[in-house]
């Protein structure tokens, strides 16, 4: 076991419109593997190889086959729940049909709650926090903001956007029944070129804050449009930190944007150093901290299982707790969802010593940290564990 090299197949878009995110995340995995390899209790080295799934669920299945043919037993994916769900399903079927050649799927960012609820699978482990967990954290923060009275919900009309809207409504009713939802808009994903009409609608509704699960262009254009119209109300978001978005946000001027995430841009300690080093090496930001947890978790599980065999490692990962950059994290056995601390961060000009995100002069500062239990949500998962 010691000195063994475990290869992980990374499958995410490396070409096409989401290549920027995929490239960054591949580098993050490779970087984390390089930094943390051999230092784990098992003494295993990790190597991450990129496969281009072009963001497509079907192509993901091809890359999965390719990876399996090349002897990979661990795969990781995160960019897009569509590909994620396809892989979860395919891995499950493959393992069932090919006993003895099992593959483990580490999901580092696909956040559809279904993956750890009704569609949960034994071979899937999620390192990110799912939409519902993030919403727990976010609403826990919002409920303490006295200024939040009238919220406008806007999102992309697809599963993620629909879920964000639904979980928000559930959670805020529980936590702050007095908060009014003054409007809700779901627009087709990636089709809106001009958000001004939406902003006009938000303004007319008298909202004092906006909640959105939008990402990419749908987020930046929304923020820009609000700025342009002089609508300065806080926005509560999920994905302001994804590659490219900070740059675009910075171009739009000052705005009050809050992000919920399991990390932030200004960590100190080992992760902080890694971030600085990553930046020096690639001139890019290291923000996919799930790679840090992922490598550590695998290492620990391999030590515990005394093997690198996926079957043993999967078993060992269940319920495993490791130290992370913000307290301990635990892989909940019931649904294979990592339980971890959550942060609310705020987008603002970086002060001296703060990390300038994407060299924009802006940063995400943590304004609230929440322990894992806060964001922990119940699961409906009925995990089918392999016999034996």
């Amino acid at each position: 076991q010691k000195g063994e090299t475990v290869r992980i197949a990374f499958m995410d878009p490396l070409s096409g419109p989401f290549a920027n995110v995929g490239q960054n995340q591949l580098k993050s995995w490779q970087f984390a593997a390089e930094k943390l390899s051999g230092r784990n209790p098992a003494g295993v080295k990790f190597e991450v190889v990129g496969f281009d799934n072009k963001g497509s669920p079907q192509e993901s299945l091809n890359t999965l086959k390719a990876a399996i043919d090349q002897g990979f037993r661990y795969i990781t994916q995160g960019n897009g729940s569509g590909a994620g769900l396809a892989l979860l399903d395919a891995v499950s079927k493959y393992n069932e049909r090919n006993p003895g050649k099992e593959v483990v799927y580490l999901n580092y960012a696909a956040v559809d709650p279904a993956m750890t609820n009704e569609k949960c699978d034994y071979w899937h482990f999620r390192l990110d926090a799912d939409t519902s967990m993030k919403m727990e954290a976010l609403t826990s923060f919002m409920k303490d903001q006295p200024s939040v009275k009238k919220v406008y919900v806007i999102g992309q009309n697809y599963s993620h956007g629909q879920q964000v809207a639904k979980y928000f409504k559930d959670a805020i009713k529980r936590k702050r029944p007095d908060v009014q939802i003054v409007g809700e808009d779901l627009h087709p994903i990636g089709q809106v070129k001009d958000f001004a009409p939406y902003v006009a609608k938000i303004k007319q509704s008298g909202a004092d804050s906006v909640l959105t699960g939008n990402w990419g262009q749908d987020l930046t254009l929304l923020v820009k449009a609000m700025n342009d119209a002089g609508l300065k109300i806080p926005m509560y978001t999920y994905y302001a930190g994804v590659t490219g978005t900070p740059t675009a946000l910075a171009g739009g001027g000052d705005s009050e944007v809050y992000v919920v995430a399991y990390g932030h841009a200004n960590h100190t300690g080992e992760l902080g150093q890694m971030g600085a080093e990553f930046h020096k090496k690639f001139n890019d930001d290291y923000y996919t901290y799930a790679t840090y947890n992922g490598i550590n978790l695998l290492g620990a599980a391999m030590a515990r299982a005394k093997s690198t065999n996926p079957v043993a490692v999967a078993r060992a990962m269940e319920g495993l707790t490791v130290k992370s950059f913000a307290g301990d994290v635990t892989m909940r056995a019931a649904d294979h969802q990592l339980q971890q601390s959550m942060f609310i961060t705020k987008w603002q000009k970086a002060k001296k010593g703060e990390y300038s995100v994407e060299n924009t002069g802006y940063t995400f500062v943590p304004i609230k940290q929440m322990d894992p239990y806060v964001s922990s949500t119940p699961t409906s998962c009925q995990m089918k564990r392999p016999a034996g």
Binding site: A19, N20, D194, P197, Q217, K224, A229, T247, G251
Partner: protein, 315 residues
């Protein structure tokens, strides 16, 4: 009233923006009959060139230089690639622009990276122009509207004051005869294609910082600009202009309409519950489909008025 005014303003400015994006395509599509799928790519190139040029010499020089550079690329492409393919018909023409769009995309990613670049609105144009009912109207948006109108005037002059339009249209059916009458057809084609690309690039220079300059920007405007050209009527500049405004205004107002079929049924006394078949369809609000209304528009117009709003010919 307040919402109406603001929406109208938004609608018109969005319409003008659409026109700005599609004017070059109108020019090329209507005159040369080429479905230029790379149009949006030239738009993107314009934005990236402007980003780089603006860093070196400032925004306003970039406003001129970037379109010229792109025009040059477009003209070269016409001369060395498109022209050879012209005689094979329209599908090959279209496919070669398809191929070009891949190449431009990759080149852009190689040169400027896969992420968005920090291309900002120049300070002089940043900030609100006026405030109406407490909503600011950004100066840059007014600038965009102005440029769109200038584009309209420029193309209109080109089409009416010169015979380039006639030469091109004639050359579509009988290129050799037009040459024998003493017109340098290849040069005219090159100029028109280059000019169309320059217009796309100008839109990019202005759109790039108003929106986001990133490799995905071409794909996001890709098909909607075809809608404008077709709805307006192929071969009609005025049509494209009217179509842009119409689409802009309708789409903007549609965002404000939260009515749905479910509501309609309920007011007719029919109960629609989540269990009813097709519930998601019935509960879909008009505001939710606003951004895809242009496609609905496209299909309807082609069925009922295939010439387009102001067009004179089909196809």
């Amino acid at each position: 009233m307040e919402f109406f005014t603001i929406s109208l303003l938004n609608g018109i400015s969005y319409g003008l923006l659409l026109f700005m994006l599609s004017s070059g395509l109108t020019l090329i599509f209507s005159m040369m009959g080429v479905l230029n799928f790379a149009h949006a790519s030239f738009y993107m190139l314009g934005a990236y060139f402007a980003y780089t040029v603006a860093q070196l010499v400032g925004f306003f020089p970039a406003l001129v230089i970037a379109p010229l550079l792109v025009a040059l690329i477009g003209a070269l492409f016409e001369k060395y690639a498109l022209r050879r393919v012209h005689k094979f018909g329209h599908v090959p023409e279209l496919l070669i622009t398809f191929g070009l769009s891949f190449i431009i995309l990759e080149m852009v990613q190689l040169v400027w990276g896969t992420s968005s670049v920090d291309y900002r609105v120049p300070d002089v144009l940043d900030g609100p122009l006026f405030t109406i009912y407490g909503t600011q109207f950004p100066m840059y948006r007014a600038f965009m509207m102005l440029v769109a109108l200038l584009m309209l005037v420029a193309i209109w002059l080109l089409l009416t004051r010169t015979r380039i339009g006639l030469v091109i249209q004639a050359a579509l059916t009988h290129p050799e005869t037009v040459e024998a009458l003493g017109h340098n057809v290849p040069r005219v084609f090159m100029l028109v294609f280059g000019g169309g690309c320059a217009l796309a690039a100008l839109a990019g220079v202005i759109g790039g910082n108003a929106f986001v300059t990133e490799p995905g920007m071409a794909a996001t405007v890709g098909s909607v600009i075809f809608v404008v050209v077709v709805v307006g009527g192929m071969g009609s500049l005025a049509g494209a202009f009217v179509a842009s405004l119409l689409i802009g205004v309708i789409q903007t107002f549609a965002v404000g309409v939260d009515a749905s079929l479910m509501g309609a049924f309920q007011s007719l006394g029919m109960a629609v519950t989540p269990e009813s078949p097709g519930y998601t369809l019935w509960k879909l609000k008009i505001s939710q489909i606003a951004p895809i209304l242009p496609y609905v528009f496209l299909v309807l117009i082609l069925i009922f008025r295939p010439k387009g709003l102001l067009g004179t010919r089909e196809g």
